[in-house]
C-alpha cells in the first residue's frame, strides 16, 4: 500500500496575547501534524515548544505590551515541522540565560521555557538580534 503524500502546509499569523487565538492556532497546527502522521509524543513536544516560544515572545520580548504582536510562521511536511516565532522586542542573548537545572537554580521559578524548547525540538536557534526564534522538529533524527 502506498500512502498518499501529504502536501506541504505553510501558514502564518500575527498574534496579540489573546489566549483563545493562541489555542486556535495550536489546534490548527495539531490538526496539520496529525494529517502528516506525527506521533502523539511529537505533537506534545511541538505544542509545548510553541507555547513556550510564544509566551517568551509576549513576556520577555514584548514585555507584556498588549499592543505588540508575536508573529508565528510555520512550514510542515511529512518529515519535519519548522517554526519561526518573532516578537517586537529588542532581542536578548540566549547564552546569558542561567542554567535552571543547576542545584542552586532549581528553586528559581522562571527560566525553563527555552531549555524545554531545546530539549524537545531537533533544532532551535535565535536569529539576531534575538527576537526571532527558529525551531524545527524532525521525525527521525533528533
Amino acid at each position: 500500500m502506498t500512502l498518499q503524500p501529504q502536501p506541504v502546509v505553510e501558514g502564518s499569523v500575527r498574534l496579540l496575547e489573546i489566549n483563545a487565538e493562541i489555542e486556535r492556532v495550536q489546534n490548527s497546527i495539531a490538526e496539520t501534524l496529525s494529517q502528516h502522521s506525527y506521533s502523539d509524543a511529537a505533537m506534545f513536544a511541538i505544542r509545548l515548544s510553541l507555547e513556550e516560544a510564544m509566551m517568551n515572545g509576549f513576556r520577555h520580548g514584548n514585555l507584556a505590551d498588549p499592543s505588540k504582536f508575536v508573529e508565528v510562521r510555520w512550514r510542515i511536511d511529512s518529515n519535519s515541522a519548522n517554526f519561526h516565532v518573532i516578537d517586537e522586542g529588542e532581542g536578548f542573548d540566549p547564552g546569558a540565560v542561567p542554567d535552571p537545572t543547576l542545584d542552586e537554580n532549581l528553586e528559581i521559578p522562571s527560566g525553563r521555557g527555552l531549555m524545554l524548547i531545546r530539549a524537545y525540538m531537533s533544532d532551535a536557534r535565535y536569529h539576531d538580534p534575538g527576537n526571532h526564534l527558529e525551531m524545527t522538529f524532525r521525525k527521525v533524527a533528533k
Binding site: 489566549n19 489555542e23 502523539d40 509524543a41 506534545f44 505544542r47 509545548l48 507555547e51 513556550e52 509566551m55 513576556r59 535552571p100 537545572t101 542545584d103 532549581l106 528553586e107 528559581i108 521559578p109 522562571s110 525553563r112 521555557g113 531549555m115 524545554l116 530539549a119
Partner: protein, 121 residues
C-alpha cells in the same frame, strides 16, 4: 469538604489539601495566575500546610505552571509544611525530568500512595 473554583478542585482530607485540576491543559498564563493565587492563599491559611497536587487528567503543562509549583513548594516548606505531587502521566513526567525538578519535588505514582504517611485519609 470540597470546594470548586473555575480551575481547581480542593478537597480537605483530614488536614491534607488535595488539589485536582479542572482543565487538561495548564498552559494559559491567566489561568495559571488564578491557580497560583488560590493555592498560595490556601498555603498561607494553614499553620503547617500539607498539600497534595494530583495531575490526574492533565495532558499539557507549561514552564509557567512549573514556576507556580516551585513557588508553592517554597512557601509550603517555609511554613513548616510539605507539598507532594501525584498521578503525573509519563509525557509530563518527562518535563519534570528534563528540568530536573523531579529532584526538587516529592512525586508519587498515585494519590493513594502520596497520602500514605501524609496524615490524610
Amino acid at each position: 469538604m470540597s470546594t470548586e473554583t473555575s480551575r481547581i478542585r480542593v478537597t480537605d482530607l483530614s488536614g491534607v489539601l488535595r488539589v485536582e485540576f479542572v482543565d487538561k491543559d495548564i498552559l494559559d498564563e491567566a489561568a495559571i495566575r488564578q491557580i497560583s493565587t488560590e493555592l498560595l492563599k490556601r498555603v498561607e491559611a494553614a499553620p503547617s500546610p500539607r498539600m497534595l497536587i494530583s495531575f490526574r487528567g492533565v495532558e499539557h503543562l507549561s514552564s509557567a505552571a512549573l514556576g507556580t509549583l516551585i513557588t508553592i513548594n517554597s512557601l509550603t516548606k517555609k511554613r513548616g509544611g510539605q507539598l507532594r505531587l501525584s498521578d503525573i502521566k509519563p509525557s509530563i513526567m518527562e518535563v519534570f525530568t528534563i528540568t530536573k525538578l523531579n529532584k526538587l519535588f516529592q512525586i508519587f505514582e498515585t494519590s493513594e500512595k502520596a497520602l500514605e504517611g501524609f496524615g490524610g485519609k
